[in-house]
Symmetry: C2
Subunit: 133 residues, 2 copies
């Protein structure tokens, strides 16, 4: 059976408290900074579990895994600022349909897909090019 320990709760809450994608390492540092004596391995395990249970989304960037608490429970994708990490959840039924159709057209079963859009958000665009004129 799955047990409810304060460590798991702490990870869950720490994740819920941010709206950007974080690495396990960063979340661990953050927790330690807040005075929690949680172990690194535990953070990894908790995040992996959350991701598996669908309570968190994960993506790979620059060789590390990043996690984020899911705002909406269902399947969705992300629009991520490549500069500040701010993330917007987006739904795209058209994409789901397209992926399923494409897979089927080539005889592939059990289609899964990775669809993420990266860009520079307004705030970061403004910060990087302060009124160039």
């Amino acid at each position: 059976m799955k047990r409810r320990t304060w460590q798991r709760t702490a990870v869950q809450e720490a994740l819920a408290g941010r709206e950007d994608f974080v690495s396990a390492q960063a979340l661990h540092s953050s927790l330690r900074a807040d005075g929690s004596p949680i172990g690194l391995a535990t953070v990894y395990r908790a995040l992996a579990d959350l991701a598996e249970e669908g309570e968190a989304d994960s993506l790979q960037a620059e060789g590390e895994s990043l996690y984020r608490a899911c705002a909406s429970p269902g399947h969705h994708h992300h629009l991520i600022c490549r500069s500040c990490g701010r993330t917007v959840e987006i739904e795209a039924d058209d994409i789901e349909a397209w992926a399923a159709r494409t897979a089927a057209a080539h005889g592939f079963r059990d289609p899964q897909h990775v669809v993420d859009v990266f860009g520079t958000c307004e705030a970061c665009t403004a910060r990087e090019q302060p009124m160039r004129l």
Copy 2:
């Protein structure tokens, strides 16, 4: 200036000779198995270069980078068998448009996107469930 060494050529050819995504390690083993005394670091460097020059596609899976020679030069996506790695290149202008539209709708600039579809190809489906009845 960029020099043309037999090592780079070997990597390029080894990649062109396969139609699935391979890891740098696997490609290195493969080359060594064919009698080439090429070094691992060199394979990594060559693949990174090829990817940067747009001659190879790369994607992250299970914590490692996989590479594949590009059949079509332009922008495209992949339909990948999660069991055998066989890959089909797919084009999806609709997706490009959707990604651009979505990014713009949220004020994001310079949209880039990651779109890959995974599934189990016919051959692998057949192999894994040999006439279950």
